[in-house]
Symmetry: C2
Subunit: 277 residues, 2 copies
């Protein structure tokens, strides 16, 4: 069983679904390890928060049931994507209260090449496409992802990830991950208040660093600052941590070796596999 | 026959479709009158332009065929929505070249209450939700429409439309239409270079006004200017022209009667029914 839609095994949704028509919904991508959904509580909290912001009722008991069904019938190591849309109905853009949300749970195998990137580090490039600015949408993992599609179209195979800037050229995140900087032994997170996704793995790592006494700073990060950072790393819920060892911006190349804070982040990430969900 | 998907009668699309997963596609909404798709050439030109910007190959002969099939089997008066997505495939956000685009053609009846709004005018309110800013996405009628969904959720039934501002509070458009101002006998169109959709009906009307010697001005419009306008009207391809007779911003109400330029716009719009497509 690869996909459950509102509890039914199916690979198709209604063409009327507002997820297709308007991107009217949100999603989570969750790592499955040893049959366990990793950091599930944090993922479901973000999903609930996003659904609340969008005014979509989330049926959490049904969702948990369906997640269990998917996990029971698939490999113990993989990735689950949960998508919740507002369902069908309404008048054009304007929804009505009769819509029944659509819950989609999909299982995917874990990408075979991801672990090597954690060990060896990755090359990234700065994308020309810039993220949309909107405080009312930022933070959420909603279904309006054209920015990420267009930015990732710039990548050739040599780049495992692209760095996205906002409309005025400040650094926000990777196309599919958050970016963290280490500078003078401080962790710096680019401000995500007008663009970007508040990643679960970033949230976990910041909490974990703080527990060991290393505070982080949340602030606007100019592109120039990336080049002056002592360490750079990417994180997301699927691949965990990827050290950045090479950054290409136009014709300029910057290089790093894998630093101590990045190694620490990788160790912290490995701890999540020991957590009950 | 209500819906054709890549030429096949169906109401379902693959859950893998990137239109659902990421809003990776664009659409057109076309008025059908006396069996004819109104301003079809302009709609298809915009669709081609948007698909080119998104890197989605558009199979125009197939699309035209399918449109003809839909028109042949439905009422001569209605609305057709054409959606083109990048199809399924790729690796996460990053598309690959093997994706086969999905063409969706849907037929809808013409909304019964729309004509009265053209005759009587409409009340509109200024929405709190502000549109995302992004020059790389503006102008297109792409599938990332959460802004329009959230803005239209603010409307109660007394408002036929909501006015949307951009991130810094300038006026852009309605949730489903373009907004035009008349001031000192000049037409003013809010600048759409960082947000908004370049509407086909607006394009037609501006062309038609210009042909009769009335030029238009394309520029940034502050919210204050709406209240000082001599006339305000909304336009889109489905309803044509709606005079704005009442504008509500928070607790302040502004009122207009239907002015001569708005009446002229309604007459111009009626001409489109005489055009072969």
């Amino acid at each position: 069983m690869q996909t459950l839609i509102n509890g039914q095994q199916s690979d198709f949704i209604s063409v009327q679904d507002r997820g297709l028509q308007y991107g009217d919904g949100c999603f989570e991508t969750i790592r499955i390890h040893a049959g366990m959904p990793i950091l599930l509580r944090l993922h479901l909290e973000r999903l609930e928060r996003s659904c609340r912001r969008l005014g979509i009722p989330l049926e959490l008991p049904e969702l948990n049931n369906e997640l269990k069904q998917i996990l029971d019938s698939n490999d113990p190591d993989g990735v689950v994507k949960i998508t919740v849309t507002r369902g069908s109905g309404g008048r054009g853009y304007r929804p009505n209260n009769q819509s029944q949300p659509t819950r989609i749970i999909q299982y995917f195998p874990y990408p075979a090449d991801y672990n090597q990137y954690t060990e060896q580090g990755v090359s990234v490039m700065v994308c020309q496409h810039r993220l949309s600015s909107n405080a009312a949408l930022s933070g959420m993992k909603h279904l309006n992802r054209l920015d990420q599609v267009l930015a990732s179209m710039e990548l050739s195979d040599e780049f495992a990830e692209g760095i996205c800037l906002d409309q005025i050229g400040n650094v926000i995140e990777g196309t599919k991950s958050n970016l963290l900087l280490v500078k003078n032994d401080r962790l710096i997170c680019p401000d995500l208040s007008v663009a970007g996704v508040r990643g679960i793995m970033q949230q976990f790592l910041l909490h974990r660093f703080a527990k060991d006494g290393m505070q982080s700073e949340n602030r606007v990060v100019a592109l120039e600052e990336l080049k002056e950072a002592n360490e750079l790393f990417l994180c997301n819920s699927v691949f965990g941590v990827w050290p950045v060892i090479k950054l290409v911006e136009n014709d300029t190349v910057f290089e790093w070796s894998v630093g101590p804070r990045t190694r620490q982040a990788i160790l912290y990430h490995n701890e999540v596999f020991n957590f009950a969900s």
